[in-house]
Symmetry: C2
Subunit: 293 residues, 2 copies
C-alpha cells in the first residue's frame, strides 16, 4: 500500500539544510542537518549537502537503498527559480516520487498549513506569500537591490541612508542618527566603507536598533518603520486581505512590526503552525495522498 | 621669477586621465590622455597612468627633468579620500610644488570658477558642491548603496524597482513600466538577474528612458523625477542657495533636471565655465600665485 511509504522533507537554505524522515503514520523518526543548500549560489554543493543529510536520515531509520527509493519526498531549496532548476535537483535524488520547490513554498506550507492567509517572512530579506484555497501568490522578494522592502536588510540600509542625510544637514538630528553613527564612532567615511561591501545580513544587524529607537519614541525611527509598514499594508491590500484571512509574521524582524499594523490586520495575527521543514513534510504527505495511497 | 613656471593640471577618473600643460602666460601648450586613475580602485595604476601622461606632456613641451620638477601642478584624482591618500600621490610625483585633491575639487573649480554657487554634477553618481567665498561644502555623493540620489544610476535603479512593484500589482501600470520591462522582454526574472550584478553605470542606461517617458507625460516617470528633484532642492535649501548664487547642472543627466526645478532655481542656471581639467589648471595657477610669484 502506498500510504505505507515513508515521507522525507528537506528544507534547504544558504546557511544549511535540514532533513526529516517520517513514518507512514506521520511520526518523525529521524532528522539530520547538513551544509548550505542554496541552489543559485552553489547548485552542486546544494545537491551534495542535501543528499548527504538524506542518506544520514535513511541510515538512522534503517532504510536500505530500495527503501529510500520508495520514500515520497518534498525538497524546498532556496534559489530554485524555475522548472529547469527543479528538474536538475530531482534528477540527482534517489526517490522515484518527489517534488522540488523553492523554500518559500515549504515556508508557506509550514506556517499557514491549509489556512487562507498571508505570510510576511521578514528576516534579512522579504518573503510575502498569500494563500487562498490552496493557491499561493508571491509578492516582492526580488532581492536587496530592487526590493526586499521592510526586511531587516532594508531597514538597516535605510537607517544608514538616513544617518548620512542627517550628516548632510538634510534631516533633523534625532537620537536615532546618533545611535546609528555611534556604531561607527561618528565617522561618516567609516559608514561609506562599511556600506560599500556590506551584505544584507550585515545591514540587518541594525534592524533591532531601528525598532528599539522607535519603541523609545524616536520620531525618525518611527517614520522609517512606518515606511516599511506602508509597503507591507500595500501588499496586504493588493492580495485583498480580508476577515477570512490569517496573518503570520515570521522571520527575525517580522513579529516586531505587529504593534505598528492597522487594527484590522493586527486582529488577524496568528502564530506559524510549523517550520519550513514541517511544511516540506506536509507537502510530501499531500503528494502521497494525491496518488490515492 | 616664479610666475615664469609652467603649470600642469591632471584630471583623473575611473575611465581615464587627462593632463594639460600650460605656459606661464596660461596658454595650453600640450595635452595628453592616459589610463584609468581612480585612487581607491587601483592606487598604483592611478599613479602610474597619471605619471605616464605627465611625462608625455613634458616631452611634447620640450621640458627636461629639471623643467618638469619646476612645474607647479594640481592633481585631482577620483577616489582620493583623505590626507594620507593625497600624500601617497604627491610622493610619487616629480614636482617640487604641487597640490592633490579628489576630482570633485577640480570639477568645482572648472565649472564655477570663483563664482558663489552650487554644482549639481549628476552622471552615473551624484556630486553636489556649494561654493561660497572660495569655501566649498560637499553634500551627498556617498556612493550608490547609501546615496547618489537623483543620479543616473539612482534613476535607473528606481525605475526597475517601480517596474517590479507594478509587476506585483502594487502600482498602476502606466506606459513607463511597459517601456522599462520591454528592455527585458517583459520577464521579471530577467530584471532580477540583471540587477543582481549590475553596476551603477548599467542602471544609469535607463535614466534617459525616465526623462523621455516623463517628457511624454507619463505620470509615474514624472513622479520619479520629482523624487530626484525633491532631493536636489533639499540640498539647495540646506546650503542656503539664494540670489547671489549660480546653479550649474553638469554630468550626463544634470541638465535634464532643469525644466523640473523651481522657478527661483531655474532662473539662476549657468553653464559650466570649463572642465575638471580646466579646474586643475586654475588650481595650479592659484597655487603659483599664492606663492607670491
Amino acid at each position: 500500500m502506498r500510504s505505507k511509504r515513508y515521507l522525507i522533507g528537506v528544507d534547504g537554505g544558504g546557511s544549511g539544510c535540514r532533513v526529516a524522515l517520517a513514518a507512514p503514520d506521520g511520526r518523525i523518526v529521524a532528522q539530520a542537518t547538513g551544509g548550505p543548500a542554496n541552489f543559485t549560489t552553489d547548485p552542486d554543493g546544494a545537491i551534495a549537502n542535501a543528499l548527504h543529510a538524506i542518506e544520514e536520515v535513511a541510515a538512522a531509520a534503517g532504510l536500505d537503498a530500495e527503501g529510500l527509493e520508495a520514500c515520497i519526498a518534498h525538497l524546498g531549496l532556496a534559489g530554485v527559480m524555475d522548472q529547469a532548476d527543479e528538474r536538475a535537483v530531482a534528477d540527482a535524488m534517489p526517490f522515484r516520487n518527489m517534488a522540488v520547490s523553492d523554500d518559500r513554498a515549504t515556508m508557506v506550507a509550514g506556517a499557514l498549513g491549509d489556512r487562507d492567509g498571508v505570510l510576511l517572512a521578514l528576516g534579512t530579506g522579504t518573503i510575502i506569500a498569500a494563500q487562498r484555497r490552496g493557491q499561493v501568490r508571491y509578492l516582492g522578494g526580488w532581492g536587496p537591490v530592487l526590493a526586499d522592502q521592510a526586511s531587516g536588510g532594508w531597514l538597516g540600509r535605510r537607517a544608514l541612508q538616513i544617518a548620512m542625510q542627517t550628516e548632510d544637514g538634510l534631516l533633523p538630528n534625532t537620537g536615532f542618527t546618533a545611535t546609528v553613527m555611534g556604531h561607527f564612532e561618528g565617522d561618516p567615511i567609516a559608514v561609506v566603507k562599511f556600506a560599500a561591501s556590506a551584505q544584507p545580513k550585515e545591514f540587518a544587524a541594525f534592524a533591532p536598533v531601528v525598532f528599539d529607537c522607535a519603541g523609545a519614541g524616536d520620531e525618525q525611527a518611527k517614520a522609517l518603520i512606518e515606511e516599511g509598514v506602508a509597503y507591507l499594508e500595500a501588499c496586504l491590500d493588493a492580495v485583498q486581505f480580508d476577515e477570512t484571512c490569517v496573518l503570520c509574521l515570521a522571520g527575525g524582524v517580522g513579529p516586531r512590526y505587529a504593534p505598528y499594523l492597522e487594527k484590522r490586520y493586527k486582529a488577524r495575527i496568528v502564530s506559524a503552525l510549523g517550520t519550513a521543514l514541517d511544511g516540506a513534510l506536509s507537502l510530501a504527505r499531500k503528494l502521497r495522498d494525491s496518488e490515492g495511497g
